[in-house]
Amino acid sequence: MSGVRILLFGAAADRAGTRQTEVALNGGATLAELWPVLVDLHPGLAPMRDTLAFAVNGEYARMEDAVSPGDEVAVLPPVSGG
């Protein structure tokens, strides 16, 4: 399995037009490297960049953190629970 599963929530799902997608990765990459690949697939996400947070395998991650094939990446707009 060489893909990374991408989950999208809230406004990010709306902008992408999907709640789940997959990005192919050859070996490892950082979240920063993953982002342009994701935007190529779903250009509607581009303007949201500065507002988004990311999680890798269910925990908040920074842009320099590594993503490997088989990981689950979540695209998180500003949370608004409560």
Binding site: F9, A74, G81, G82
Partner: protein, 150 residues
Amino acid sequence: MRLFLIVEEPIDVGAIVTGAFRPDCGAVATFIGTTRVDEGAEVEGAIASVEYLEYEAYRPMADRKLEEIGAEIRERWEVGHVSLVHRLGRVDPGEPSVAIVVASPRRGPAFEASRYAIERIKEIVPIWKREVWSDGYVWVGSQVGTRSVE
């Protein structure tokens, strides 16, 4: 009864509050967030208003974050009981979307911890709400949606 919980059905507030009563605690502070609907504003001759809120979560990360907030509270304050419950799906006006209950020996820590809990929930728990209006919806915090007037 589980103490950190994400539910799809209405929150049983009475059970959650009375479940916090303990003989070693003299103070129970709670916070309950409910769907608020402001008076509709007139836009292009029609009154538009929020009809309900709709919540979604990234699970199980959201469940774990509720538990983390509970652990943070137990580190910072002397508490005998903490319960954090958040609802998903459609929540109608006046209905609770979140319930926080903290019991402590004394009232100061109970008040402080319950306030902390709601601020942290709004900060780190991956839950999102959209306002559903008669003419579309808007994601709160992202201002992205389907309403033409936004």
